[in-house]
């Protein structure tokens, strides 16, 4: 058969099930899609919808309890479901490869990186010494700095971005005709993610490899893929050319997903985020009708009893919905809540300072070396205000949160003032009132909640401790708090394991509010959650702020989220505040060169292509910071600015460049503005 019009990969009515406690549970429901040679096909959907299952099925590598219960997987026309193991191995050696999330664990910790890449060549019969040379060439191809040296390293000596490049090099080594990428950049910093994505795009242009690209991040998919499929509960609900699908989403689920995302310019002061009510169905749920009916605003009886078929929207754009024509105009889903607050309703955010942080520094000792992770950080937080902290991993966001909370103590000279009163440096020397007035919500509620206690008990104990309530009053208050966070009464006696991620986070937030806090530190509170759940949590935080006048310090690597929820933003680099100002200022410019690079690396879902300002090189180690301005070896604006020598010798101060807008850069703001226009 000719290969010209044969799809590289075709899933034909694919059904996959996992056997759990003896019962087969359907994960992929009648999936059909095909990827042409050289095409990039994106698969999106929320956690658990079956994206990874589809990816591994395409490699014919399912977990021990997984099995293909129906349909076919055709690679260049041949059904790999029926192939012998040898034949599949040989395909993997020569024609299909995979790149996965968590590159660090994908590499063997005890074998040198170079040998692991060389292995791919050896598998196709190349001699050992030739394979090492070819491995180095492969590393050159993925633009790793100093490939000869990287060859001799072990996995733990690589940064996340480098490890992912090595994994990509390994995947491309066999010149595959199909590359399966499962969340290849999830967990990487925004600037690293942007570089890896650029690399993948370039390599694809050079090699013409077909790609199955999987991500939960719609922005990434929009920038990487020619065509997109949307997966919900294991069913493909919409598919089409990227621009068509994003500009004219025609399935209510796709519409809902896109509306949940805090996208460009939305701000809590004017816009409330949409959510998708309800939760995804449990694994293996059987449906007579549409898989989305339980959560769909347009659902009618027909939807619940008859299985919708794919209908054509335009050209190759199809949606599996009876009412696809009404999807884009479907009513918004905004939960409006009646507040039942104990506290008086505060007037929202005024200019009085609630928390003042002055000259905080922190030096950790690591293997005998002193590492300064926080360097002279100062900022103020007003009543009812949200301060966003952004910066790449290792920039010191969490350490600042810990300093504020007294979980680690600052170096000599650092002062924290709350409501005009100086705070003790460490938690155990702060009184109950001070402790209760500052609380934290973590990224991962699983680790933060005691799994053996009921939800009421978890919150009730915090009330007892922080408010001095007796047990029965504390339980009453716990119920009130939980209901206020929209945790239904029927769940109050549940244990954390019985709750979804979003509900667990609500419990964690309830607990943080037990002591009527003035400030709640939120450390990546929505990073582990799906966008629809994230939207609900962000709405909740905004409500709480309006209702109780609480202030937030909000840490996130997701700039869209930070922009939406923050009044002011501090941008951190290597333990320093490099830019500080109102959300408006920081996002609309003039920008500090680092902020500019950071913002330009985010792929937005509106598809607008911003010119990327690349940050070259890697984040330097805080144990050995560069001289002068710490950004100077990577700074995109240094060269040609006329300030090069100053940049390399002298650290700039944080200065007020416009009213209320601070920057740490030698280039005068007027020049920056000009460069950036």
């Amino acid at each position: 058969m000719s290969t010209t019009n044969t799809a590289t990969l075709e899933l034909r009515n694919l059904e996959v099930a996992y056997t759990v406690r003896g019962i087969d549970r359907e994960v992929l429901r009648d999936i059909s899609l095909s990827i042409a040679p050289g095409e990039a096909y994106g698969l999106v959907g929320e956690s658990g919808c079956g994206k990874s299952t589809a990816a591994f099925a395409a490699m014919r590598y399912l977990p021990r309890n997984g099995k293909i219960t129906g349909g076919a997987i055709l690679f260049e026309g041949k059904n790999i479901v029926e192939m012998a193991d040898d034949e599949v191995s040989s395909l993997r050696r020569s024609a299909i490869s995979m790149v996965y999330q968590n590159p660090a664990t994908a590499l063997n910790p005890t074998i040198r990186v170079g040998d692991q890449v060389a292995e791919v060549f050896q598998l196709s019969g190349v001699s050992k010494s030739d394979s090492l040379e070819m491995a180095q060439a492969a590393l050159v191809q993925v633009q790793i700095a100093d490939p000869a040296q990287v060859m001799r390293r072990y996995a733990h000596q690589l940064s996340g971005g480098m490890a992912q490049r090595v994994v990509i090099a390994m995947a491309l080594a066999s010149n595959p005709r199909l590359l399966v990428m499962d969340e290849p950049t999830t967990g990487l910093d925004a600037t690293v993610e942007a570089e890896v994505l650029d690399l993948v795009r370039e390599l694809r242009r050079d090699t013409g490899t077909a790609v199955l690209f999987i991500s939960h991040n719609l922005g990434v998919i929009r920038h990487m893929c020619d065509r997109v499929g949307v997966l919900y509960a294991g069913a493909l609900v919409e598919q089409g050319a990227t621009a068509d699908l994003f500009n004219n989403p025609s399935h209510p689920y796709t519409v809902g997903l896109l509306r949940c995302i805090p996208r460009g310019g939305l701000h809590k002061s004017t816009d409330r985020l949409d959510t998708i009510p309800g939760t995804p169905p449990a694994l293996g749920t059987h449906f007579d009708g549409c898989v989305f009916a339980d959560r769909c605003a347009l659902a009618d009886d027909n939807c619940r009893t008859r299985l919708p078929q794919m209908v054509t929207i335009s050209g190759a754009h199809v949606a599996r919905c009876f009412h696809s024509d009404k999807a884009s105009s479907m009513p918004r889903s905004i939960e409006l809540i009646e507040y039942a607050s104990q506290a008086d309703v505060h007037s929202v955010h005024n200019d009085d300072t609630l928390l003042s942080i002055n000259h905080l520094s922190k030096i950790f000792t690591q293997d005998g070396h002193k590492v300064q992770v926080i360097n002279d950080v100062s900022f103020n937080l007003g009543f009812g205000e949200t301060l966003g902290l952004v910066g790449e991993s290792g920039s010191g966001k969490t350490t600042i949160a810990k300093l504020v909370l007294g979980l680690v103590s600052p170096e000599e000279g650092g002062v924290i003032t709350l409501d005009g009163k100086g705070l003790a440096k460490t938690l155990n020397r702060r009184d109950v009132h001070d402790v209760g007035s500052m609380q934290i919500v973590f990224q991962n509620p699983d680790q933060a909640l005691n799994r053996r206690h009921s939800v009421t008990r978890i919150v009730g104990r915090a009330v007892e401790r922080l408010r001095g309530f007796n047990v029965s009053d504390a339980i009453d208050r716990a119920h009130e708090l939980l209901s206020g966070m929209r945790v239904e009464a029927s769940l109050h006696s549940a244990r954390p394991v019985q709750l979804s991620g979003g509900l667990k986070q609500r419990v964690a937030i309830s607990r943080a509010f037990a002591g009527s806090p003035q400030i709640v530190v939120c450390d990546e509170p929505t990073s582990a959650l799906d966008v629809s759940v994230q939207a609900a949590i962000l709405n909740l935080l905004v409500d709480l702020q309006k209702q109780d006048g609480v202030s937030f310090i909000f840490i996130s690597h997701d700039l869209g989220v930070v922009r939406y929820i923050s009044d002011r933003i501090a941008v951190l680099y290597l333990g320093r505040v490099v830019e500080f100002g109102t959300s408006q200022r920081v996002f609309n410019g003039p920008f500090h060169p680092y902020t500019e690079a950071l913002l330009s690396s985010v792929p937005n879902i509106d598809g607008s292509i911003r010119k990327r300002i690349p940050l070259t090189g890697v984040v330097p180690s805080p144990s050995n910071p560069p001289s002068g301005c710490v950004l100077n070896p990577r700074c995109p604006r240094k060269a040609g600015s006329g300030y090069e020598t100053l940049c390399e010798t002298e650290e700039p101060n944080l200065t007020e460049v416009e009213p209320g807008h601070f920057m740490r850069c030698h280039i005068p703001v007027a020049n920056l503005k000009q460069l950036q226009s």
Partner: protein
């Protein structure tokens, strides 16, 4: 790396020193009067004085302690109270014999147990896995001397496959023949240690089999058997090494019991004689030597672990 080895070495020296001090005080304080204990009720006052003078028991405790440790450092283990010969002459040949037995046992136990663990892991959930895991654990419940007796009675006496003593007669003492005689005693040790080592190996192999890097290897197109030998074993056996080293004390303990059953003139048999005769000088040295062996194996295991594990090796060499 050098620093790490030196540090571990220092720690080992301290450990042995502490053992020496404890042993010294246990033997000198607890039983009360060494001379009386040794010479028995019938001894006269002069006998006691003479005995104490000969063995230096008339000095102060501290002087005795430091005198003894000083002697130890010079390789002088003192004199056996029972045989009135140097302890060294008594123990050295015995240690030689025991080393042979331990060596044979070690080379039997380690490969077989590891192979058992690997086979169980590769066939997880199948019959052979259950046979190895359950069988190994059940066998370990029975102490080695019972196994030794059972083995002597069955394969030795009834079926006469293996010799019932561990030591060949004068006639044929070729190396092979000596090893042949040591196999049965080794098997009784194997039965006790197999289950434990196999179980740890199995756990390590399963973890490595389920690792992301194993997945990478398979998705590179490696066939499973090759991926296992290249990517799984090295990572899986790391924790096993540490476990084997931690089993050395049990091996020594088991050795003593087995030697006695098989009437083998090794270290254990000599020590037992010393216990029966309350020969403190020999006992003290015996304990010190055992602790030395244990500490040395722990040291070797730690170094091996560090050398095989790049993450630790790097940390260690910083």
């Amino acid at each position: 790396m050098k620093q790490f080895i030196l540090k571990r070495l220092g720690l080992s020296v301290v450990t042995v020193f502490l053992v020496a001090v404890i042993v010294f005080f246990l033997t000198h304080i607890l039983p009360g009067n060494v001379a009386r204990q040794y010479l028995g009720k019938g001894a006269t006052e002069e006998d006691l004085v003479e005995f104490r003078r000969v063995f230096g028991l008339d000095r102060s405790l501290l002087a005795q302690l430091f005198g003894w440790i000083g002697d130890l450092l010079h390789g002088d283990l003192g004199e056996s109270m029972q045989y009135r010969v140097s302890v060294k002459d008594l123990l050295l040949p015995a240690i030689g014999y025991s080393s042979k037995l331990a060596g044979v046992a070690f080379f039997l136990i380690v490969p077989i147990s590891i192979a058992g663990g690997v086979i169980a892991a590769m066939n997880r959930g199948k019959k052979i896995d259950r046979a190895i895991t359950v069988g190994g654990l059940s066998a370990a419940v029975i102490p080695e001397f019972v196994w030794a007796i059972v083995l002597v009675l069955t394969v030795g006496v009834t079926f006469q496959i293996f010799p019932v003593s561990a030591f060949p007669d004068e006639g044929n003492r070729s190396i092979l023949n000596q090893i042949w005689y040591l196999i049965l005693p080794s098997i009784s040790l194997l039965l006790v240690l197999f289950g434990y080592i196999a179980r740890i190996t199995r756990a390590g192999v399963i973890e490595a089999l389920e690792s992301d890097y194993m997945r990478t290897a398979v998705l590179k197109g490696m066939i499973r058997r090759k991926a296992v030998s290249k990517h799984v074993l090295r990572n899986a056996l790391l924790p096993t090494i540490a476990v084997i080293a931690s089993q050395v004390p049990y091996l020594i303990g088991g050795l003593i019991a087995v030697e006695i059953v098989f009437n083998y003139p090794g270290f254990g048999t000599v020590l037992k004689g010393a216990v029966d005769a309350r020969d403190y000088a020999v006992l003290q040295s015996g304990v010190i030597i055992s602790s030395l062996v244990i500490v040395i194996f722990q040291l070797i295991a730690d170094i091996l672990f560090a050398v095989l594990n790049p993450r630790i090796r790097q940390k260690v060499s910083e």
